[in-house]
Amino acid sequence: MSAGELTGLSLQAASARLAAGQVSSRQLTEACLARVAATDGRVGAFLTVTGERALAAADASDARRASGRASGPLDGIPVAVKDLFLTRGVATTAGSRILEGFIPPYDGTAVARLQAAGAVLLGKLNLDEFAMGSSNEHSAYKPCHNPWDLSRTPGGSSGGSAAALAARQCFGTLGTDTGGSIRLPASFCGVVGLKPTYGRVSRYGVIAFASSLDQPGPLGRTTWDVAALLSAIAGPDPHDPTCAARPADDYLSALENGARGLRIGVPREWFGGGLQPEVEARVREALATYQRLGATLVEISLPHSRYGIGAYYLIATAEASANLARYDGVRFGLRAPGVRGLKELYAESREQGFGAEPKRRIMLGTYALSAGYYQADYLRAQQVRTLIRRDFDAAFTRCDVVAGPVAPWPAFKLGEKTGDPLQMYLADIFTITCNLAALPGLSVPCGLAGGLPVGLQLVGRPFDEATLLTAARALERELGPPPAPTALEAKA
């Protein structure tokens, strides 16, 4: 098999070939590194490539396999993680200048679990600075391009995590989702992305944006790949008190159970307003496919969804304003040179270190928490959150999953929305409620609109990732694997 054919495999297929002795981890890793070298100049998915470490890990995996001690489906599989995950000894920037040169002294839990499962870490992936953005254009280092159309964004904030998969640079990635940051890029890049239930995957060692909303999760080219990655990283962690004590489920065993009998809630609020007709058509077709597979559609209402964006931008910015206070130039990261006195050290380091979007959000959040505004803003937003969760609780008495679009449109052009933050914030209009309600949400490809991928969003009951994956798999099996993007090949 050629290197190009190798990188085009799903994680599942690569894993099967490893198990069968048809390929080595070193071969897979070398193929991926070659693909990164050949394509990433145009994609910009990687901020750091850890080639030597990856080859050493691949050789260790091959040695384990040779002695019969391979540890599972991820052993020897090249993966990469968003540069928001701390990696011991490997630069971790959060896409920000303020962390330039920061080398973490520890591995986050999810990364440690991937490595314990034998996965080979290829490097760190591009993102919006501190995960704040929907297009990856807020990366302080470089923009990331959508492999379907290099003039378009891959979505954000986990843009690199989706683009690397679409570009066939690795077999699985991790991202984080605070308001849609896994699902949106998965939708834009035509891959599968899962935001688990809040508390399903440990946040320890993931740089915090908005602590009550952030959730790490896997992206893959297929549902099986995502299920395998989730199995490796999910479960209780004593380092994260907000991580659930409930053990992880077996996400692979029920994957092929189909959609028969599944009750799918279709929220009427998600099909109005700015939803692009061609996107709506793909979503409706997917719903019709489910009906054909034996599922029933139930019209539901999530009346408080429309307050989602407002509540989100109060809560997320308030928490971010505190979470980003530690980047002060005192202990790590960027320290402005030549300053006099403490106030100047703080002001200059933060002025030089943070980009426009983090600054905007720190100011919004500081304002929302200020004396006199806290009650009216932050507390009220928390009340909205409760109402949104109740909407879903009520819906889940009548359905098993909620389905709708991930975003109003397919991938937009780079630069198209950077001048208008509010337009950019609307990219998350359908994904944000899921974070506010702490529920699991998934994006699975459901076709193309104008030659660009469209994702179907599925939202489930708390900790019912298994049902989401099973439902997504049913659609995936029906539609067949999405085509590989050709933009890179055309220009290569």
């Binding site: 973490p104 520890y106 060692g205 009550s212 505190a322 928490l369 932050y378």
Partner: protein
Amino acid sequence: MPVADFEVVLGLEVHAQLLTRTKIFCGCSTAFGAEPNSQVCPICLGMPGVLPALNAQVVEWAVKTGLALGCAVQPVSVFSRKNYFYPDLPKGYQISQFELPICLGGGLTITVDGQEKLIRLTRIHMEEDAGKNLHELAADGGSGVDLNRAGVPLLEIVSEPDLRSADEAVEYLKALRAILLALGVNDGNLEEGSFRCDANVSVMRRGATEYGTRAEIKNMNSFRFLKQAVDFEVRRQVALVEAGEPVVQETRLYDPVRGETRSMRSKEEAHDYRYFPEPDLPPVRVDEALLARVRASLPELPRARAARYQQVLGLPAQDAGVLVGDGALADFFDAALAARGGGAEAARKVANWTIGELSRLMNETGLPPPAWKLTPAGLAEVLALLDAGTVSGAGAKALVEELFRAGGDPGALVKSRGLAQVSDQGAIEAAVDAVLAASPADLERHRSGKKDLTGFFVGQVMKALKGQGNPGVVNALLKKKLGGLPPGEGR
């Protein structure tokens, strides 16, 4: 208008470091005095990506303190972030409790001038301590930050403004300290700052119904400084009111060298801490099982103990007060008395030795109780040797000191150190004879009645016996040898 025409209104905020082995949100040691930044990890350094994991012992001890102080322990309490920038605060916020603290209400009784008074508490909450800034470390005058203390657990205990004088404030602080020591949750060290207080002080004209504007006083690291600071502040505020000038709401720093308070920051400069619930920590739940377990573990509290010492053991109030002021002393006393046995007489003796010798040695050496080599049983044995006449009072003191510093077996030490008291008639008689023979002139002066030199001869004999003569025997023999004549009556 003199100070006496004003009423002082005072409340204290006490910060007590909990004696847990590890910090409140990570596994780092809390030991004092280590090399700067040697007891730190990514969590207490506030590295990117870290999360706090609450130390269960902190909750348990907060509950224990709350129960001991009669507070309403809250079934659900919430940590909050208190936001401000300072180099000793690694995350840029302190994890504290704000709207929903773990304990509400409660109070403690103090005695001032023989009068009992209940001082009510507002609340008790849990929080993390900050690190320490160290200035002028480098040759260029640069500053450093030591984060060993960052994340050490604190209880903040806030009183209502029920105190009416500096003396009441001192009594309150002493009573609170004694309770925390008895509970074993705090070491009560004001100097090192593991037990520290801020005072909210205001004055109002006697009979007034509205409190005056208050100032918050910081940096009082002894009982004496607390009294001085409050007294100074009261005089300052009274002078302002008398002069018709307003008292400004502000934070003031006590300067122990000049004995005065100085403005640190005004209300306008006060931080807006932008508190909000800490999203990284779930609400703290205290269930019935924990309450019951902690309640069962509560020791006898100082006031109850002092009452028992007075009523059951017949100790003077003063002695009872000293013993319960430091739980370690009282524990030692109880154990030594149990070992010694006996009633009020024995209790008084054990108390005298505990208060006199043990607390003297404790203060001189500064050694904490675990470092004392003297055991309660050891003291009981020394007192038995004293009562049996085996050692003299001086010998017993020497024994206690040696045992305190080096330990050992009292009986064996008496032999090896030659501390046994000489009660043997023959030996003492020989010494008496030798002393009298060596001082014929003094003997004559005594016998002539010119001067009573009994005390002088006792001293000489004791000296000859190296201080180990049994005083009773020495006195009796001298009396006989000196002729039994009442001195001064002549012949």
